[in-house]
């Protein structure tokens, strides 16, 4: 039987506080001034999750509350992103 190798997905919320991008979930909270730096911090923090050549998708859903209330009726979505770990360099 063909068995589909499903990649595990971890959900996080992404926001920006005016200075840093912040990714968080119930267990971790990481901040960095650029998304690239944030990704590297996430990779380090979650290193145990993708051992033995397993991949891990980190789904970052943007917290729309970072957008002012008056703007959200026009577009209630900033962006979501997926980070595939380990990062292939």
């Amino acid at each position: 039987m063909f068995k589909r190798n499903k990649t595990k997905t971890l959900d996080m919320t992404l926001t920006h506080d005016g200075k840093n991008w912040i990714a968080s979930n119930k267990t971790i909270k990481l901040a960095a001034s650029s998304l690239g730096e944030l990704d590297r911090k996430i990779e380090n923090a979650l290193r145990d999750e993708f051992v033995d050549n397993k991949r891990l998708n980190v789904f970052m859903a943007f917290d729309n509350e970072a957008i002012p209330m008056w703007i959200r009726p026009y577009m209630n979505h900033y962006f979501n992103r997926i980070l595939v770990l380990p990062i292939q360099r």
Partner: protein, 542 residues
């Protein structure tokens, strides 16, 4: 408001966009019940042109006395409950309208997690102020044309001949006075001043209008009914041109102006280009996210968009009516409006104002021998805009891929395709459903307007008119009022982003508006509006 958009159904109960669909389709569905002989929409209060006292010899035809300044539309159009709705009288119909829309919109406010008490108080204030302005704007001095006076056997007198446009202008002015001179009140009312919600709901109601136009015209003649059905479909197809213009002409042009002349950073230039070229605030936010800009970039650009959109709303309908293209090419004017005015609210509102101005001018110029169907010019403005809106999700997705995979390559990052759906404007679903259902009634059980389908079309009309005429106009009025309340012109003066103000100004007035007018001319020139004045008449152009 939904905090995050994670699944395809995220935000269905918590965003204004979806609530415009629910509200619009709820009343559209109630309207359809007239096909079963049940009229639940005829209570909507609608204004007439009025005077305090009738001059000697005048008759109540196009102009009535003050005590009849409002009436329940069902009192005129209902087939099954005409007496009931007539008995409501002006005050009764306004109160019923208030109660029903208060329940509907407060429910929406509750699910969107707004401050319900503040919304309720603000809504009540805005609702009654809107009706007061609607009443004033329909005084014969503002609204009646020479033809209206003639039809009502009035003596010749000076009027502004603005038609329903007077009420829209007054609503905007009243809102702007509150927004700019009574700022604490404006801040309080902002919880209920929701132009995007109101206009998106109005656009769903406009879907009823587009579908109903052939039905209405069929009452004049079957041929005109078919002509209007064809015209709306032509507008839909020609409107696709707007998409190409906005994304492939405007965007690269404004991006180049921003980068080469004003030396703006790449991300800022991209966000600004989308805002000015595509669909204003929604494009600014979508593009900001796509290029991974800090949210503050989109926020700054959005502040500019809303102010410029209101400036366009004030200027363009008059320019297009009285300078170019005028009543010779009303569809060109509507389409150009859709391409030039950013934000759905300002565009649809400007289109509605244009519709009023154009029809009033044609009525006046032709001495009442040519009467254009109401709403079709608005449709031309909205149709181009809807095309532009629909592709913002796809555009932002492409930009995100270019940015993430090429320009600022982020190792390990993937752009989820679900982004396209999250950025798709949901209210257009309601618009298309409403349009195609009524179009289906016209061509299906209505037999395309022939005699055998007339009873079905009459029943459909009784449910469609209160929605497409009464509710749509009410929500347009609420939009004008709310736009004014939330617009603070001082924001432009206080803004610390003068370069962007100049990019916006130059791009809008020297690039976007002229090119939009040319493209609209190329794709819409020659589209003719049927004359509803003469039964069986041939189609008349302007």
């Amino acid at each position: 408001m939904s905090k995050i958009q994670r699944f395809w159904y995220s935000g269905m109960l918590s965003t204004e966009d979806w609530w415009a669909v629910w509200l619009g389709l709820a009343f559209f569905s109630l309207g359809l019940l007239t096909l079963l002989g049940i009229d639940l929409v005829g209570w909507i209060a609608y204004p007439s042109k009025w005077v305090f006292n009738m001059p000697e010899g005048a008759i109540s035809k196009k102009i009535v006395t003050i005590d009849k300044a409002f009436y329940a539309l069902g009192g005129k159009y209902s087939l099954t409950a005409r007496d009931t709705y007539q008995s409501l009288g002006p005050i009764g119909s306004i109160l019923v309208t208030y109660i029903i829309f208060t329940i509907a919109t407060v429910t929406g406010a509750y699910f969107q997690k707004w401050d319900v008490k503040r919304y309720f108080i603000g809504w009540t204030f805005i609702f009654f102020l809107t009706y007061l302005v609607w009443f004033i704007g329909h005084h014969a001095f503002f609204a009646a044309s020479a033809v209206d006076l003639k039809r009502s056997h009035f003596p010749a007198m000076f009027t502004l001949s603005l038609g329903g446009g007077a009420s829209f202008i007054l609503a905007l002015m009243a809102g702007l006075i509150i927004g700019n001179f009574f700022k604490p009140l404006a801040r309080y009312l902002s919880e209920a001043a929701k132009p995007e919600w109101f206009i998106k709901t109005a656009i769903v109601f406009l879907g009823v209008k587009v579908g109903y136009l052939p039905i209405k015209a069929a009452a004049t003649s079957e041929k005109i009914g078919h002509a209007l059905a064809d015209l709306t479909l032509d507008l839909f197809i020609a409107g696709a041109a707007a998409t190409i213009v906005a994304y492939l002409i405007f965007w690269p042009g404004v991006y180049t102006i921003s980068r080469l002349i004003f030396k703006l950073p790449r991300k800022t230039a991209a966000v600004l280009a989308s805002a000015i070229s595509i669909c204003g605030v929604s494009a600014a936010v979508a593009t900001g996210g796509a290029v991974r800009a800090r949210p503050v970039v989109s926020i700054m650009v959005s502040s500019l968009v809303v102010v410029y959109a209101v400036i366009e709303l004030v200027i363009l309908p008059g320019v297009f009516t009285h300078i170019w293209p005028g009543i010779k090419d009303p569809m060109v004017a509507g389409a150009a409006m859709g391409m030039a005015v950013k934000t759905d609210g300002a565009d649809a509102a400007a289109g509605e104002l244009l519709d009023e101005f154009m029809r009033a001018k044609m009525d006046e110029t032709s001495n009442g021998t040519v009467i254009w169907p109401e709403g079709i010019i608005t449709v031309s403005a909205v149709m181009t805009k809807i095309w532009i809106d629909m592709f913002i999700g796809l555009w932002a997705f492409l930009l995100a891929m270019i940015w993430v995979y090429k320009i600022e390559r982020q190792e390990g990052e993937k752009v989820p395709f679900s982004e396209v759906w999250f950025r798709f404007p949901k209210f257009v679903l309601g618009y298309f459903i409403a349009w195609f259902v009524y179009l289906g009634i016209f061509f299906g059980p209505g037999h395309g307007g022939s005699a055998e389908g007339m009873s079905v079309l009459k029943a459909a009309e009784a449910g469609a008119v209160p929605v497409e005429k009464g509710m749509r106009k009410l929500f347009f009025m609420l939009t004008f009022m709310s736009l004014g309340i939330i617009t603070d012109f001082k924001k432009l003066a206080e803004a610390q982003f003068s370069k962007m103000i100049w990019v916006y100004f130059i791009a809008l007035f020297f690039f976007i508006i002229p090119v939009a007018s040319i493209i609209a001319y190329l794709f819409h020139h020659g589209m003719t509006l049927p004359n509803m004045a003469t039964p069986g008449s041939a189609l008349l152009g302007g």
